[in-house]
Protein backbone atom coordinates (compact mmCIF):
# COMPACT_ATOMS: atom_id res chain seq x y z
CA UNK A 1 0.00 0.00 0.00
CA UNK A 2 1.04 3.56 -0.53
CA UNK A 3 3.11 2.71 -3.60
CA UNK A 4 0.37 3.32 -6.16
CA UNK A 5 -0.72 6.80 -4.93
CA UNK A 6 2.95 7.71 -4.71
CA UNK A 7 3.52 6.68 -8.34
CA UNK A 8 0.48 8.66 -9.46
CA UNK A 9 1.75 11.78 -7.68
CA UNK A 10 5.15 11.37 -9.34
CA UNK A 11 3.40 10.91 -12.70
CA UNK A 12 1.40 14.10 -12.23
CA UNK A 13 4.60 16.02 -11.45
CA UNK A 14 6.40 14.59 -14.51
CA UNK A 15 3.33 15.70 -16.46
CA UNK A 16 4.22 19.28 -15.51
CA UNK A 17 7.52 18.98 -17.39
CA UNK A 18 5.74 17.38 -20.37
CA UNK A 19 3.23 20.22 -20.37
CA UNK A 20 6.15 22.68 -20.46
CA UNK A 21 7.52 20.94 -23.58
CA UNK A 22 4.03 21.08 -25.06
CA UNK A 23 3.18 24.72 -24.25
CA UNK A 24 5.38 26.19 -26.98
CA UNK A 25 4.11 23.61 -29.46
CA UNK A 26 0.52 24.40 -28.48
CA UNK A 27 1.17 28.09 -29.10
CA UNK A 28 2.77 27.51 -32.53
CA UNK A 29 -0.01 25.07 -33.50
CA UNK A 30 -2.73 27.45 -32.32
CA UNK A 31 -1.29 30.61 -33.84
CA UNK A 32 0.60 29.49 -36.93
CA UNK A 33 -1.39 26.30 -37.61
CA UNK A 34 1.63 24.10 -38.08
CA UNK A 35 3.41 21.41 -36.10
CA UNK A 36 7.08 22.25 -35.78
CA UNK A 37 8.87 18.92 -36.19
CA UNK A 38 12.07 20.49 -34.81
CA UNK A 39 10.35 21.53 -31.53
CA UNK A 40 11.99 18.80 -29.44
CA UNK A 41 15.36 19.39 -31.07
CA UNK A 42 15.13 23.11 -30.25
CA UNK A 43 14.58 22.20 -26.57
CA UNK A 44 17.68 19.98 -26.66
CA UNK A 45 19.63 22.69 -28.52
CA UNK A 46 18.90 25.26 -25.78
CA UNK A 47 19.81 22.64 -23.14
CA UNK A 48 23.22 22.34 -24.76
CA UNK A 49 23.48 26.15 -24.83
CA UNK A 50 22.79 26.22 -21.07
CA UNK A 51 25.32 23.43 -20.53
CA UNK A 52 27.93 25.34 -22.52
CA UNK A 53 27.30 28.56 -20.57
CA UNK A 54 27.73 26.69 -17.29
CA UNK A 55 30.94 24.97 -18.41
CA UNK A 56 32.41 28.15 -19.89
CA UNK A 57 31.75 30.49 -16.96
CA UNK A 58 31.10 28.23 -13.96
CA UNK A 59 27.77 29.97 -13.30
CA UNK A 60 24.75 28.15 -11.86
CA UNK A 61 21.88 26.61 -13.81
CA UNK A 62 19.47 29.45 -12.97
CA UNK A 63 21.55 32.39 -14.31
CA UNK A 64 22.50 30.30 -17.34
CA UNK A 65 18.81 29.70 -18.10
CA UNK A 66 18.05 33.40 -17.59
CA UNK A 67 20.76 34.27 -20.13
CA UNK A 68 19.29 31.68 -22.52
CA UNK A 69 15.84 33.31 -22.41
CA UNK A 70 16.57 36.39 -24.59
CA UNK A 71 18.79 34.31 -26.87
CA UNK A 72 15.93 31.84 -27.41
CA UNK A 73 13.48 34.71 -28.00
CA UNK A 74 15.76 36.18 -30.66
CA UNK A 75 16.35 32.72 -32.14
CA UNK A 76 12.62 32.02 -32.42
CA UNK A 77 11.96 35.48 -33.87
CA UNK A 78 14.66 35.15 -36.53
CA UNK A 79 13.73 31.55 -37.36
CA UNK A 80 10.17 32.59 -38.06
CA UNK A 81 11.06 35.84 -39.86
CA UNK A 82 13.67 34.47 -42.21
CA UNK A 83 12.80 30.80 -42.70
CA UNK A 84 9.35 29.63 -41.58
CA UNK A 85 7.53 32.77 -42.78
CA UNK A 86 8.66 32.04 -46.32
CA UNK A 87 6.79 28.73 -46.45
CA UNK A 88 3.78 29.69 -44.29
CA UNK A 89 0.41 29.55 -46.05
CA UNK A 90 1.64 27.32 -48.88
CA UNK A 91 0.07 24.15 -47.53
CA UNK A 92 1.40 21.68 -45.00
CA UNK A 93 4.07 19.97 -47.10
CA UNK A 94 6.70 22.79 -47.29
CA UNK A 95 6.44 23.66 -43.58
CA UNK A 96 6.76 20.00 -42.54
CA UNK A 97 9.73 19.49 -44.87
CA UNK A 98 11.53 22.64 -43.69
CA UNK A 99 11.09 21.90 -39.97
CA UNK A 100 11.98 18.26 -40.64
CA UNK A 101 15.22 19.30 -42.35
CA UNK A 102 15.91 21.69 -39.45
CA UNK A 103 15.40 18.84 -36.97
CA UNK A 104 17.98 16.64 -38.72
CA UNK A 105 20.45 19.54 -38.98
CA UNK A 106 20.15 20.37 -35.25
CA UNK A 107 20.50 16.73 -34.14
CA UNK A 108 23.55 16.06 -36.27
CA UNK A 109 25.09 19.47 -35.62
CA UNK A 110 24.92 18.75 -31.88
CA UNK A 111 26.32 15.25 -32.45
CA UNK A 112 29.20 16.73 -34.42
CA UNK A 113 30.02 19.40 -31.84
CA UNK A 114 29.25 17.67 -28.52
CA UNK A 115 29.45 13.95 -29.35
CA UNK A 116 26.87 11.30 -28.46
CA UNK A 117 27.45 11.35 -24.65
CA UNK A 118 24.50 11.67 -22.30
CA UNK A 119 24.57 14.99 -20.41
CA UNK A 120 23.07 16.47 -17.30
CA UNK A 121 23.26 19.85 -15.61
CA UNK A 122 23.73 20.20 -11.84
CA UNK A 123 20.96 22.14 -10.13
CA UNK A 124 23.04 22.80 -6.99
CA UNK A 125 21.24 20.35 -4.68
CA UNK A 126 17.64 21.11 -5.58
CA UNK A 127 17.37 17.87 -7.56
CA UNK A 128 17.89 15.69 -4.48
CA UNK A 129 15.80 17.65 -1.96
CA UNK A 130 12.45 16.08 -1.03
CA UNK A 131 9.37 17.04 0.96
CA UNK A 132 7.46 14.49 3.05
CA UNK A 133 3.72 14.79 2.73
CA UNK A 134 1.52 12.37 4.67
CA UNK A 135 0.62 8.83 3.60
CA UNK A 136 4.14 7.73 2.76
CA UNK A 137 4.33 10.05 -0.22
CA UNK A 138 7.59 11.86 -0.87
CA UNK A 139 7.65 14.73 -3.29
CA UNK A 140 10.87 15.98 -4.85
CA UNK A 141 11.32 19.73 -4.50
CA UNK A 142 12.46 20.06 -8.13
CA UNK A 143 9.46 18.24 -9.66
CA UNK A 144 7.16 20.36 -7.48
CA UNK A 145 8.85 23.57 -8.63
CA UNK A 146 8.57 22.43 -12.25
CA UNK A 147 4.89 21.59 -11.83
CA UNK A 148 4.15 24.98 -10.27
CA UNK A 149 6.24 26.52 -13.07
CA UNK A 150 4.02 24.81 -15.65
CA UNK A 151 0.89 26.22 -14.00
CA UNK A 152 2.50 29.67 -13.92
CA UNK A 153 3.39 29.30 -17.59
CA UNK A 154 -0.22 28.48 -18.52
CA UNK A 155 -1.46 31.51 -16.57
CA UNK A 156 1.16 33.81 -18.09
CA UNK A 157 0.45 32.69 -21.66
CA UNK A 158 -3.31 32.88 -21.06
CA UNK A 159 -2.90 36.44 -19.79
CA UNK A 160 -0.61 37.35 -22.67
CA UNK A 161 -2.93 35.99 -25.36
CA UNK A 162 -6.25 37.20 -23.94
CA UNK A 163 -5.47 40.29 -21.82
CA UNK A 164 -2.79 42.19 -23.72
CA UNK A 165 -2.62 44.18 -26.92
CA UNK A 166 0.08 41.87 -28.28
CA UNK A 167 -2.16 38.87 -27.60
CA UNK A 168 -5.04 40.47 -29.46
CA UNK A 169 -2.74 41.09 -32.43
CA UNK A 170 -1.46 37.53 -32.37
CA UNK A 171 -5.01 36.16 -32.30
CA UNK A 172 -6.10 38.51 -35.08
CA UNK A 173 -3.24 37.46 -37.35
CA UNK A 174 -3.89 33.83 -36.48
CA UNK A 175 -7.62 34.01 -37.26
CA UNK A 176 -7.32 35.73 -40.61
CA UNK A 177 -3.89 36.91 -41.84
CA UNK A 178 -5.32 38.60 -44.94
CA UNK A 179 -7.75 40.80 -43.00
CA UNK A 180 -5.11 41.50 -40.33
CA UNK A 181 -2.81 42.78 -43.07
CA UNK A 182 -5.65 44.85 -44.48
CA UNK A 183 -6.20 46.73 -41.20
CA UNK A 184 -2.50 47.44 -40.97
CA UNK A 185 -1.13 44.72 -38.72
CA UNK A 186 2.42 43.73 -39.67
CA UNK A 187 1.53 40.02 -39.73
CA UNK A 188 5.08 38.79 -40.45
CA UNK A 189 6.38 40.61 -37.35
CA UNK A 190 3.46 39.45 -35.22
CA UNK A 191 4.12 35.82 -36.21
CA UNK A 192 7.82 36.31 -35.49
CA UNK A 193 7.05 37.74 -32.04
CA UNK A 194 4.77 34.76 -31.32
CA UNK A 195 7.59 32.41 -32.31
CA UNK A 196 9.94 34.39 -30.05
CA UNK A 197 7.54 33.69 -27.17
CA UNK A 198 7.57 30.01 -28.17
CA UNK A 199 11.37 30.28 -27.93
CA UNK A 200 11.07 31.58 -24.34
CA UNK A 201 8.89 28.60 -23.34
CA UNK A 202 11.46 26.33 -25.00
CA UNK A 203 14.28 27.90 -22.97
CA UNK A 204 12.37 27.56 -19.68
CA UNK A 205 11.57 23.90 -20.35
CA UNK A 206 15.16 23.33 -21.50
CA UNK A 207 16.46 24.78 -18.22
CA UNK A 208 14.28 22.49 -16.11
CA UNK A 209 14.82 19.46 -18.35
CA UNK A 210 18.59 19.73 -18.24
CA UNK A 211 18.58 19.56 -14.41
CA UNK A 212 15.95 16.85 -14.05
CA UNK A 213 16.65 14.38 -16.86
CA UNK A 214 19.57 13.14 -18.90
CA UNK A 215 19.72 14.37 -22.46
CA UNK A 216 21.80 13.74 -25.57
CA UNK A 217 21.75 15.18 -29.11
CA UNK A 218 19.14 12.66 -30.30
CA UNK A 219 16.72 13.25 -27.39
CA UNK A 220 14.62 15.77 -29.35
CA UNK A 221 12.16 13.51 -31.20
CA UNK A 222 10.95 11.75 -28.03
CA UNK A 223 10.24 15.22 -26.50
CA UNK A 224 8.40 16.23 -29.67
CA UNK A 225 6.19 13.13 -29.57
CA UNK A 226 5.25 13.68 -25.92
CA UNK A 227 4.60 17.39 -26.51
CA UNK A 228 2.44 16.54 -29.52
CA UNK A 229 0.46 13.98 -27.54
CA UNK A 230 -0.18 16.48 -24.75
CA UNK A 231 -1.33 19.15 -27.23
CA UNK A 232 -3.70 16.80 -29.09
CA UNK A 233 -5.07 15.22 -25.90
CA UNK A 234 -5.77 18.61 -24.35
CA UNK A 235 -7.54 19.91 -27.42
CA UNK A 236 -5.83 22.14 -29.97
CA UNK A 237 -5.39 25.69 -28.74
CA UNK A 238 -6.34 25.05 -25.12
CA UNK A 239 -3.41 25.78 -22.78
CA UNK A 240 -5.04 24.34 -19.65
CA UNK A 241 -5.98 21.31 -21.77
CA UNK A 242 -2.32 20.94 -22.72
CA UNK A 243 -1.40 20.82 -19.02
CA UNK A 244 -4.02 18.10 -18.44
CA UNK A 245 -2.71 16.24 -21.52
CA UNK A 246 0.83 16.33 -20.13
CA UNK A 247 -0.39 15.01 -16.77
CA UNK A 248 -2.27 12.13 -18.47
CA UNK A 249 0.87 11.06 -20.33
CA UNK A 250 2.97 11.38 -17.16
CA UNK A 251 0.56 9.30 -15.07
CA UNK A 252 0.19 6.65 -17.82
CA UNK A 253 3.96 6.33 -18.00
CA UNK A 254 4.26 6.05 -14.22
CA UNK A 255 1.61 3.31 -14.13
CA UNK A 256 3.27 1.53 -17.07
CA UNK A 257 6.59 1.61 -15.25
CA UNK A 258 4.84 -0.14 -12.33
CA UNK A 259 4.25 -3.20 -14.57
CA UNK A 260 7.77 -3.18 -15.95
CA UNK A 261 10.32 -0.43 -16.62
CA UNK A 262 10.23 -1.30 -20.33
CA UNK A 263 6.52 -0.48 -20.45
CA UNK A 264 6.94 3.16 -19.39
CA UNK A 265 7.12 4.78 -22.84
CA UNK A 266 4.75 2.31 -24.47
CA UNK A 267 2.08 2.95 -21.81
CA UNK A 268 2.22 6.70 -22.51
CA UNK A 269 1.74 6.19 -26.25
CA UNK A 270 -1.05 3.61 -25.77
CA UNK A 271 -2.91 5.92 -23.37
CA UNK A 272 -2.65 8.67 -25.97
CA UNK A 273 -3.94 6.48 -28.82
CA UNK A 274 -6.87 5.12 -26.78
CA UNK A 275 -8.04 8.54 -25.57
CA UNK A 276 -7.46 10.03 -29.01
CA UNK A 277 -9.66 7.37 -30.66
CA UNK A 278 -12.40 8.05 -28.11
CA UNK A 279 -12.11 11.85 -28.34
CA UNK A 280 -10.28 12.90 -31.53
CA UNK A 281 -11.02 16.58 -30.86
CA UNK A 282 -9.21 16.42 -27.50
CA UNK A 283 -10.54 16.92 -23.99
CA UNK A 284 -10.96 20.71 -24.01
CA UNK A 285 -11.09 21.79 -27.66
CA UNK A 286 -11.09 25.51 -28.29
CA UNK A 287 -11.64 25.55 -32.03
Amino acid sequence: MGELPNQIVQGVLVGGLYAMYAMGLSLSVGVMRFVNIAHGDLIVLISFLILTLIHATGMGALPATLIALPIAFAGGYLLQRFLLQRVLGKGVLPIILVTFGLSIIIQNGLLGVFGADTRRVSGGGIETATLKIGGGINVGVLPLVIFLGAIAMVMALDWLLYRTRLGARIRAVSDDPATANLVGLPSARVYATAMGIVGVTIAISAGFMSIWTNFDPTAGPSRLLIAFEAVVLGGLGSLWGTLVGGIIIGVAQALGAQIDVGWQLLAGHIAFLVIFLARPEGLFPKY
Binding site: V29, R33, F34, V35, I37, L83, R86, V87, G91, V92, L93, P94, I95, I96, L97, V98, F100, G101, L102, S103, I104, I105, Q107, N108, G109, L111, G112, P221, L224, L225, F228, E229, V232, G262, W263, L265, L266, H269, I270, F272, L273, F276, L277, P280
Partner: protein
Amino acid sequence: MPRQSRLWIVYLARAGLIAGAAVMAAAPMLFATRDVAMLTEFMSLLTIAIMWNLLAGYADIVSVGQHAFVGVGAYALFGFAAIAHVDPYLSIPLAAVVALVVALPVMVIIFRLRTAYLAVGSWVVAETIMLAAGKLAAFGGGSGISLPVSVVRSFGHRIPERYGTIYWIAFAVAALALVATWLLMRSRIGLGLTAMRDNEEGAGVVGVNLIGLRVLCFLWTAPFLGLAGAVITLQKLRVSPPASFSIVDWTVYVIFIVVIGGIGSFEGPIIGTVVFFLIREYLSEIGVWHFIILGALSIAVVLVEPRGLWGLVRRWLPADVIPNSRSRRARE
Protein backbone atom coordinates in the same frame (compact mmCIF):
# COMPACT_ATOMS: atom_id res chain seq x y z
CA MET B 1 15.66 27.06 -78.90
CA PRO B 2 11.95 26.16 -78.46
CA ARG B 3 11.16 23.51 -75.89
CA GLN B 4 9.57 21.24 -78.46
CA SER B 5 12.82 20.87 -80.41
CA ARG B 6 14.43 19.31 -77.32
CA LEU B 7 12.18 16.28 -77.63
CA TRP B 8 15.20 14.20 -78.69
CA ILE B 9 16.62 14.65 -75.17
CA VAL B 10 13.46 13.07 -73.76
CA TYR B 11 13.79 10.13 -76.14
CA LEU B 12 17.45 9.79 -75.24
CA ALA B 13 16.58 9.79 -71.52
CA ARG B 14 13.91 7.14 -72.10
CA ALA B 15 16.44 4.98 -73.96
CA GLY B 16 18.87 5.52 -71.09
CA LEU B 17 16.23 4.50 -68.58
CA ILE B 18 15.48 1.27 -70.47
CA ALA B 19 19.19 0.51 -70.85
CA GLY B 20 19.65 1.16 -67.12
CA ALA B 21 16.80 -1.21 -66.30
CA ALA B 22 18.35 -3.88 -68.53
CA VAL B 23 21.73 -3.52 -66.80
CA MET B 24 20.00 -3.66 -63.39
CA ALA B 25 18.15 -6.84 -64.39
CA ALA B 26 21.47 -8.51 -65.14
CA ALA B 27 23.43 -6.90 -62.28
CA PRO B 28 24.46 -10.08 -60.38
CA MET B 29 26.11 -11.38 -63.55
CA LEU B 30 27.91 -8.10 -64.21
CA PHE B 31 29.07 -6.76 -60.86
CA ALA B 32 31.09 -7.86 -57.82
CA THR B 33 29.28 -9.17 -54.73
CA ARG B 34 29.90 -5.94 -52.80
CA ASP B 35 28.27 -3.87 -55.53
CA VAL B 36 25.35 -6.30 -55.77
CA ALA B 37 24.74 -5.79 -52.03
CA MET B 38 24.78 -2.01 -52.55
CA LEU B 39 22.35 -2.31 -55.47
CA THR B 40 20.03 -4.44 -53.33
CA GLU B 41 19.87 -1.56 -50.83
CA PHE B 42 19.30 0.78 -53.77
CA MET B 43 16.27 -1.22 -54.91
CA SER B 44 14.78 -1.34 -51.40
CA LEU B 45 15.19 2.42 -50.89
CA LEU B 46 13.80 3.10 -54.37
CA THR B 47 10.68 1.05 -53.53
CA ILE B 48 10.14 2.98 -50.28
CA ALA B 49 10.80 6.31 -52.02
CA ILE B 50 8.22 5.61 -54.75
CA MET B 51 5.66 4.89 -52.03
CA TRP B 52 6.43 7.99 -49.94
CA ASN B 53 6.23 10.11 -53.09
CA LEU B 54 2.80 8.68 -53.92
CA LEU B 55 1.57 9.62 -50.43
CA ALA B 56 3.20 13.01 -49.88
CA GLY B 57 3.52 14.12 -53.50
CA TYR B 58 0.04 13.25 -54.73
CA ALA B 59 -2.37 12.20 -51.96
CA ASP B 60 -1.35 14.95 -49.47
CA ILE B 61 -0.58 12.37 -46.76
CA VAL B 62 2.69 13.72 -45.35
CA SER B 63 3.61 10.76 -43.17
CA VAL B 64 6.73 10.56 -41.02
CA GLY B 65 5.83 7.04 -39.91
CA GLN B 66 6.06 4.86 -43.00
CA HIS B 67 9.05 3.03 -41.50
CA ALA B 68 6.44 1.24 -39.37
CA PHE B 69 5.36 -0.86 -42.35
CA VAL B 70 8.94 -1.67 -43.33
CA GLY B 71 9.43 -2.98 -39.79
CA VAL B 72 6.14 -4.89 -39.84
CA GLY B 73 7.19 -6.56 -43.11
CA ALA B 74 10.54 -7.49 -41.56
CA TYR B 75 8.96 -9.01 -38.46
CA ALA B 76 6.27 -10.79 -40.51
CA LEU B 77 8.94 -12.40 -42.70
CA PHE B 78 10.77 -13.62 -39.61
CA GLY B 79 7.52 -14.87 -38.08
CA PHE B 80 6.49 -16.89 -41.11
CA ALA B 81 9.90 -18.20 -42.19
CA ALA B 82 11.63 -18.77 -38.83
CA ILE B 83 8.82 -19.37 -36.32
CA ALA B 84 5.94 -20.85 -38.39
CA HIS B 85 8.37 -22.62 -40.80
CA VAL B 86 6.50 -21.45 -43.87
CA ASP B 87 8.46 -21.70 -47.13
CA PRO B 88 10.85 -18.67 -47.07
CA TYR B 89 9.92 -17.62 -50.61
CA LEU B 90 6.21 -17.75 -49.75
CA SER B 91 6.88 -15.76 -46.56
CA ILE B 92 7.81 -12.69 -48.65
CA PRO B 93 4.33 -12.09 -50.18
CA LEU B 94 2.78 -13.05 -46.84
CA ALA B 95 4.79 -10.21 -45.24
CA ALA B 96 3.09 -7.85 -47.69
CA VAL B 97 -0.31 -9.14 -46.61
CA VAL B 98 0.51 -8.57 -42.93
CA ALA B 99 1.64 -5.01 -43.68
CA LEU B 100 -1.67 -4.39 -45.45
CA VAL B 101 -3.65 -5.79 -42.51
CA VAL B 102 -1.72 -3.58 -40.03
CA ALA B 103 -2.34 -0.57 -42.29
CA LEU B 104 -6.11 -0.76 -41.66
CA PRO B 105 -6.16 0.17 -37.93
CA VAL B 106 -3.25 2.60 -38.46
CA MET B 107 -5.32 4.36 -41.10
CA VAL B 108 -8.31 4.59 -38.76
CA ILE B 109 -6.10 6.41 -36.25
CA ILE B 110 -4.11 8.79 -38.41
CA PHE B 111 -6.89 9.75 -40.83
CA ARG B 112 -8.70 11.30 -37.87
CA LEU B 113 -5.93 13.87 -37.64
CA ARG B 114 -6.01 16.98 -39.77
CA THR B 115 -3.28 16.99 -42.43
CA ALA B 116 -0.93 19.26 -40.48
CA TYR B 117 -0.96 16.91 -37.47
CA LEU B 118 -0.92 13.67 -39.45
CA ALA B 119 2.87 13.80 -39.82
CA VAL B 120 3.68 13.63 -36.11
CA GLY B 121 0.60 11.43 -35.48
CA SER B 122 1.92 8.79 -37.88
CA TRP B 123 5.27 9.03 -36.10
CA VAL B 124 3.60 8.33 -32.73
CA VAL B 125 1.90 5.25 -34.24
CA ALA B 126 5.19 4.02 -35.72
CA GLU B 127 6.95 4.52 -32.37
CA THR B 128 4.19 2.58 -30.61
CA ILE B 129 4.43 -0.34 -33.06
CA MET B 130 8.23 -0.38 -32.71
CA LEU B 131 8.08 -0.42 -28.90
CA ALA B 132 5.42 -3.17 -29.05
CA ALA B 133 7.64 -5.23 -31.40
CA GLY B 134 10.36 -4.99 -28.74
CA LYS B 135 8.03 -6.80 -26.31
CA LEU B 136 7.74 -9.93 -28.51
CA ALA B 137 9.86 -12.56 -26.79
CA ALA B 138 9.76 -14.93 -29.80
CA PHE B 139 11.38 -12.18 -31.86
CA GLY B 140 14.23 -11.61 -29.41
CA GLY B 141 12.58 -8.74 -27.50
CA GLY B 142 14.36 -5.41 -27.54
CA SER B 143 17.69 -6.74 -28.82
CA GLY B 144 16.36 -8.67 -31.83
CA ILE B 145 17.24 -12.05 -33.30
CA SER B 146 19.05 -13.54 -36.32
CA LEU B 147 17.40 -15.51 -39.11
CA PRO B 148 18.05 -19.27 -38.69
CA VAL B 149 20.75 -20.69 -40.98
CA SER B 150 18.24 -23.03 -42.66
CA VAL B 151 16.14 -20.05 -43.83
CA VAL B 152 19.22 -18.19 -45.04
CA ARG B 153 20.46 -21.30 -46.91
CA SER B 154 17.24 -21.60 -48.91
CA PHE B 155 18.29 -18.48 -50.82
CA GLY B 156 21.62 -19.98 -51.86
CA HIS B 157 24.37 -21.97 -50.17
CA ARG B 158 27.31 -19.83 -51.20
CA ILE B 159 27.49 -16.10 -50.53
CA PRO B 160 27.64 -14.81 -54.16
CA GLU B 161 24.72 -17.05 -55.12
CA ARG B 162 22.67 -15.88 -52.13
CA TYR B 163 23.43 -12.19 -52.75
CA GLY B 164 22.35 -12.69 -56.38
CA THR B 165 19.03 -14.31 -55.42
CA ILE B 166 18.20 -11.64 -52.84
CA TYR B 167 19.16 -8.93 -55.33
CA TRP B 168 16.76 -10.34 -57.91
CA ILE B 169 13.97 -10.40 -55.34
CA ALA B 170 14.75 -6.76 -54.45
CA PHE B 171 14.83 -5.88 -58.16
CA ALA B 172 11.50 -7.64 -58.75
CA VAL B 173 9.91 -5.78 -55.81
CA ALA B 174 11.20 -2.40 -57.04
CA ALA B 175 10.12 -3.15 -60.62
CA LEU B 176 6.68 -4.25 -59.41
CA ALA B 177 6.37 -1.08 -57.27
CA LEU B 178 7.41 1.15 -60.16
CA VAL B 179 5.31 -0.47 -62.90
CA ALA B 180 2.19 -1.02 -60.76
CA THR B 181 2.27 2.56 -59.43
CA TRP B 182 2.90 3.85 -62.96
CA LEU B 183 -0.16 1.94 -64.22
CA LEU B 184 -2.14 3.35 -61.27
CA MET B 185 -1.07 6.86 -62.25
CA ARG B 186 -2.10 6.34 -65.88
CA SER B 187 -5.56 5.16 -64.87
CA ARG B 188 -8.60 7.28 -64.01
CA ILE B 189 -7.41 7.17 -60.42
CA GLY B 190 -4.08 8.68 -61.43
CA LEU B 191 -5.88 11.48 -63.19
CA GLY B 192 -7.68 12.26 -59.94
CA LEU B 193 -4.41 12.10 -58.01
CA THR B 194 -2.68 14.48 -60.42
CA ALA B 195 -5.61 16.88 -60.06
CA MET B 196 -5.30 16.56 -56.28
CA ARG B 197 -1.58 17.32 -56.45
CA ASP B 198 -2.14 20.45 -58.51
CA ASN B 199 -5.18 21.84 -56.69
CA GLU B 200 -6.87 19.83 -53.98
CA GLU B 201 -9.95 22.04 -53.56
CA GLY B 202 -10.48 22.26 -57.28
CA ALA B 203 -10.16 18.49 -57.66
CA GLY B 204 -12.82 18.02 -54.98
CA VAL B 205 -15.15 20.48 -56.72
CA VAL B 206 -14.96 18.69 -60.07
CA GLY B 207 -15.89 15.40 -58.43
CA VAL B 208 -12.63 13.71 -57.41
CA ASN B 209 -13.32 11.51 -54.38
CA LEU B 210 -10.57 12.91 -52.13
CA ILE B 211 -11.12 10.60 -49.16
CA GLY B 212 -11.45 7.51 -51.34
CA LEU B 213 -8.19 8.32 -53.13
CA ARG B 214 -6.38 8.93 -49.83
CA VAL B 215 -7.54 5.59 -48.46
CA LEU B 216 -6.53 3.82 -51.67
CA CYS B 217 -3.05 5.39 -51.71
CA PHE B 218 -2.39 4.62 -48.06
CA LEU B 219 -3.42 0.98 -48.47
CA TRP B 220 -1.52 0.78 -51.77
CA THR B 221 1.80 1.68 -50.16
CA ALA B 222 1.62 -0.67 -47.14
CA PRO B 223 2.17 -4.04 -48.92
CA PHE B 224 5.06 -2.63 -50.96
CA LEU B 225 6.69 -1.29 -47.80
CA GLY B 226 6.15 -4.72 -46.24
CA LEU B 227 7.88 -6.35 -49.22
CA ALA B 228 10.78 -3.92 -48.88
CA GLY B 229 11.02 -4.80 -45.17
CA ALA B 230 11.11 -8.52 -46.03
CA VAL B 231 13.89 -8.01 -48.59
CA ILE B 232 15.88 -5.84 -46.17
CA THR B 233 15.62 -8.58 -43.53
CA LEU B 234 16.87 -11.21 -45.99
CA GLN B 235 19.85 -8.97 -46.68
CA LYS B 236 20.62 -8.02 -43.08
CA LEU B 237 19.86 -11.53 -41.78
CA ARG B 238 18.28 -10.28 -38.55
CA VAL B 239 15.37 -8.34 -37.12
CA SER B 240 15.56 -5.87 -34.22
CA PRO B 241 13.29 -2.94 -33.27
CA PRO B 242 15.83 -0.14 -33.82
CA ALA B 243 17.15 -1.52 -37.15
CA SER B 244 14.00 -2.98 -38.70
CA PHE B 245 11.96 0.10 -37.71
CA SER B 246 14.80 2.55 -38.37
CA ILE B 247 13.35 6.02 -38.83
CA VAL B 248 16.67 7.28 -40.19
CA ASP B 249 17.01 4.60 -42.87
CA TRP B 250 13.39 4.20 -43.96
CA THR B 251 11.94 7.66 -43.38
CA VAL B 252 14.61 10.38 -43.00
CA TYR B 253 16.70 9.23 -45.98
CA VAL B 254 13.57 8.53 -48.00
CA ILE B 255 12.18 12.03 -47.43
CA PHE B 256 15.52 13.55 -48.47
CA ILE B 257 15.58 11.31 -51.57
CA VAL B 258 12.10 12.30 -52.73
CA VAL B 259 12.41 16.01 -51.86
CA ILE B 260 15.82 16.46 -53.50
CA GLY B 261 14.92 14.30 -56.53
CA GLY B 262 11.57 15.95 -57.04
CA ILE B 263 8.34 15.39 -55.14
CA GLY B 264 5.14 14.84 -57.12
CA SER B 265 6.83 13.42 -60.19
CA PHE B 266 7.66 9.91 -61.28
CA GLU B 267 11.26 10.67 -62.18
CA GLY B 268 11.96 12.39 -58.84
CA PRO B 269 12.33 9.32 -56.58
CA ILE B 270 14.59 7.60 -59.15
CA ILE B 271 16.86 10.64 -59.54
CA GLY B 272 16.82 11.21 -55.77
CA THR B 273 17.84 7.62 -55.00
CA VAL B 274 20.74 7.82 -57.49
CA VAL B 275 21.91 11.16 -56.04
CA PHE B 276 21.55 9.83 -52.50
CA PHE B 277 23.74 6.79 -53.22
CA LEU B 278 26.35 9.00 -54.86
CA ILE B 279 26.38 11.31 -51.82
CA ARG B 280 26.54 8.32 -49.48
CA GLU B 281 29.35 6.63 -51.40
CA TYR B 282 31.52 9.75 -51.50
CA LEU B 283 30.51 11.64 -48.37
CA SER B 284 29.80 8.93 -45.79
CA GLU B 285 33.28 9.34 -44.28
CA ILE B 286 32.37 12.85 -43.14
CA GLY B 287 29.89 11.27 -40.70
CA VAL B 288 27.21 13.55 -39.27
CA TRP B 289 27.99 16.29 -41.78
CA HIS B 290 26.43 14.37 -44.64
CA PHE B 291 23.12 14.55 -42.75
CA ILE B 292 23.59 18.30 -42.38
CA ILE B 293 24.30 18.65 -46.11
CA LEU B 294 21.19 16.57 -46.96
CA GLY B 295 19.04 18.59 -44.52
CA ALA B 296 20.28 21.95 -45.83
CA LEU B 297 19.87 20.76 -49.42
CA SER B 298 16.28 19.71 -48.85
CA ILE B 299 15.40 23.03 -47.16
CA ALA B 300 17.01 24.84 -50.10
CA VAL B 301 14.94 22.73 -52.52
CA VAL B 302 11.69 23.60 -50.72
CA LEU B 303 12.55 27.32 -50.82
CA VAL B 304 13.97 27.52 -54.34
CA GLU B 305 12.41 24.77 -56.50
CA PRO B 306 9.74 22.75 -54.65
CA ARG B 307 9.69 20.23 -57.50
CA GLY B 308 13.32 19.30 -56.83
CA LEU B 309 16.08 18.41 -59.27
CA TRP B 310 13.58 16.92 -61.70
CA GLY B 311 11.56 20.16 -61.54
CA LEU B 312 14.69 22.08 -62.58
CA VAL B 313 15.34 19.75 -65.51
CA ARG B 314 11.67 19.54 -66.50
CA ARG B 315 11.58 23.31 -67.13
CA TRP B 316 13.82 22.72 -70.13
CA LEU B 317 12.13 19.60 -71.44
CA PRO B 318 8.96 19.40 -73.51
CA ALA B 319 7.70 16.13 -71.94
CA ASP B 320 8.10 13.76 -69.00
CA VAL B 321 10.62 10.96 -69.40
CA ILE B 322 8.12 8.59 -67.80
CA PRO B 323 4.81 9.72 -69.28
CA ASN B 324 2.21 9.13 -66.58
CA SER B 325 -0.37 11.82 -67.07
CA ARG B 326 -3.00 11.41 -69.76
CA SER B 327 -4.00 15.04 -69.57
CA ARG B 328 -0.47 16.22 -70.24
CA ARG B 329 -0.15 13.83 -73.17
CA ALA B 330 -3.39 15.08 -74.63
CA ARG B 331 -2.24 18.69 -74.31
CA GLU B 332 0.94 18.01 -76.18
